[in-house]
């Protein structure tokens, strides 16, 4: 158990420091560690937990405490949350005062602009990975596709799409 908690702390501590461009960039690495390396859950369970976190309110990273809880109960919940939020928060606290000095420097703009293409590739990888785990049949691929198009083309609230997808799923059509 202690070994599991230490592994969780190391994995999510590293992800905290690598999470440039928000939380979704780290999903593939989370998936790789939790599913492929440590076999704490299947890919389907991972995508179900991700979906649960999407259906709940809050910031993007709410799948993190859920993974910790699923793997190692309350202790896992606390360890993963502290490991994922702690290091990046400490950096934010430390850099806050220096920000005034470097926010207008050219290198700051270059670094920020340089992170955008990397973030784009990582979020696209997250999307493919989550879709591949979630979509086992043409009906589920169709739900993913329709939800994606509606989100891009309209201003529909995401909760309606999650509700619609769940209801189509509930009918068992195509499963």
């Amino acid at each position: 158990m202690t070994q599991t908690l230490i592994a969780l702390a190391l994995i999510f501590g590293e992800l905290s420091l690598l999470a440039f461009g928000g939380g979704n960039t780290t999903l593939p690495e989370m998936h790789r560690q939790v599913v492929d390396v440590h076999h704490w859950m299947t890919g389907t369970e991972f995508s179900a937990l991700y979906a649960l976190a999407q259906a709940a309110p809050g910031p993007n990273l709410m799948v993190v405490p859920l993974i910790g809880w699923h793997v190692a109960g309350w202790q896992g919940l606390i360890v993963t949350t502290v490991a994922k939020m702690g290091p990046s928060s400490i950096i934010t606290m430390l850099v806050l005062h220096a920000w005034e000095r470097f926010k207008d420097r050219p290198w700051r703009r270059a670094v920020q602009a340089g992170l955008v293409p990397v973030t784009t590739g990582l979020v696209a990888a997250s999307a493919l990975l989550i879709a591949k785990s979630a979509d086992t049949h043409w009906v589920s691929w169709a739900i993913t596709g329709v939800c994606a198009v509606l989100t891009i083309r309209t201003r529909i609230h995401p909760l309606w799409l999650l509700l619609g997808g769940s209801l189509i799923g509930l009918t068992g059509f195509g499963q």
Partner: protein, 184 residues
């Protein structure tokens, strides 16, 4: 420097409300709460602080809570603001997790979750498309994005080496672009 005084309790409850009401992304609501309702920051201060939070690793809204907490009440303020932000959603997500684990062998629940997971994947696909669109017409940036995608999604390379190679490369490209942009 700060015109307004904000207590630890206000930081906690302000971000608690924000976390509980933020369905499908917290950023639009964060601006409304922090700038328009609570008036903790001016629009300019908000934009500037958001720039910092997007620059640093970590979730943008989580970093924002830490930065605002720090600004008004130091480390204690950061902890109050962040625990408010993630406390409510954590409780909800764990409650949903308990329900899921108790019922996951029920065929109806399995079907429902298959549909929910497919829809959630769709939201993430949409986010990827929206992030990718501004790269149009920039072949070097697109090449880096494709390399990152291939390394992570196809070759399953770990994140750390991928970022250690691609980030400096991408910053070098961006530096050149800024330099030629200034020269023109």
């Amino acid at each position: 420097m700060n015109r307004v005084q904000v207590s630890l309790r206000e930081l906690f409850t302000g971000f608690l409300g924000l976390g509980l009401m933020a369905f499908g992304g917290a950023m639009p609501l964060a601006r409304r709460t922090i700038v328009e309702q609570r008036r903790w920051l001016t629009p300019e201060e908000f934009t500037e602080l958001l720039g910092l939070c997007q620059f640093l690793p970590g979730g943008n809204v989580i970093n924002l809570s830490v930065a605002i907490g720090m600004r008004f009440r130091g480390v204690a303020g950061s902890i109050a603001a962040m625990s408010g932000l993630i406390g409510g959603p954590t409780a909800i997500v764990i409650a949903l997790g308990v329900i899921y684990e108790r019922t996951q062998n029920n065929p109806y629940v399995q079907h429902l979750f298959a549909g929910l997971a497919a829809a959630a994947a769709g939201l993430l696909v949409a986010m990827a498309v929206k992030i990718a669109l501004p790269l149009r017409g920039r072949p070097a940036a697109i090449a880096i994005a494709v390399l990152g995608f291939a390394a992570i999604a196809v070759l399953r390379v770990p994140l750390l080496p991928t970022m250690l190679v691609l980030t400096p490369l991408s910053i070098a490209v961006a530096t050149r672009r800024t330099a030629t942009g200034n020269a023109q």
